[in-house]
């Protein structure tokens, strides 16, 4: 059985130095979630060029991919997506009541693994961008 508790005003970001791992996980999950849903709308808008004709679609995607800033933003998107996935798995376990005593460690692990995957992916994302 779950129990909620008074967490105070989490929206008071002036208290950030008092935030626990769980508070940071909550904030990062919200932030990455906002980025991902914003990106989904943008993604469908860009892919909508396929409803014009094939050449427009190919030209649009390849023009975007020729911009260094797009490649860098893609690395950022990967970082955001990987963290949201890993922390999301952690939340599913929390909801199932599994590993509750390891929540903090799981959050730190999600951060470290996200960072490692992001750094390791940089060469793949930037190949041909220069």
């Amino acid at each position: 059985m779950s129990q909620s508790y008074d967490r105070g005003l989490i929206e008071d970001f002036g208290r950030w130095q008092e935030f626990s791992a769980g508070m940071w996980a909550w904030i990062f999950h919200k932030f990455t979630g906002w980025v991902l849903i914003g990106y989904l709308f943008t993604h469908i808008a860009v892919l909508s060029t396929s409803t014009v004709d094939g050449a427009t679609y190919t030209m649009t995607l390849q023009s975007l991919e020729s911009l260094l800033v797009v490649r860098i933003l893609e690395v950022g998107l990967l970082a955001v997506a990987v963290f949201h996935i890993l922390n999301g798995v952690r939340l599913l376990f929390v909801d199932l009541g599994v590993g509750l005593e390891s929540q903090d460690k799981a959050f730190y692990a999600a951060l470290i693994v996200s960072a490692a995957i992001t750094v390791a992916s940089i060469p793949t994302f930037l190949v041909g961008a220069f």
Partner: protein
């Protein structure tokens, strides 16, 4: 008593769907990123390659399911976040319908895009 905090009380259809879509999206989002950035590089995507992928029944169904699940999870997540911030009353109702309409429009447009990319239909 379990010592944890969750944004949701475990009840209701939206609560369950948010978690079911999460479990699906964990797998498909990772697959989507792997396929279109590491197996096929995004810079090399062409309409021919896209059409070849989207003309496979399994891939087409997976991508449309991905769109529907992602839209629900994202739009419902935004709604929950705003309610969590204290949204209530008329603004809450207005936001609910705005997000619902935006979500439906995104799915409809996404399916139009998927149909334009496939030879199946």
């Amino acid at each position: 008593m379990a010592d944890y905090y969750s944004s949701f009380e475990p009840k209701g259809t939206r609560w369950l769907l948010q978690r079911l879509t999460a479990a699906f999206l964990v797998v498909v989002l990772a697959y989507h990123f792997m396929l279109l950035h590491f197996v096929n590089h995004a810079a090399e995507v062409t309409i021919a390659g896209t059409t070849a992928r989207m003309s496979q029944v399994g891939y087409f169904i997976t991508m449309v399911s991905f769109l529907v699940a992602g839209t629900f999870h994202g739009v419902n997540g935004v709604y929950n976040a705003l309610v969590n911030q204290g949204l209530e009353g008329t603004p809450k109702t207005a936001v609910k319908w705005l997000l619902a309409v935006a979500g439906v429009m995104l799915v409809v447009q996404g399916i139009r895009v998927a149909i334009a990319m496939t030879n199946l239909i």
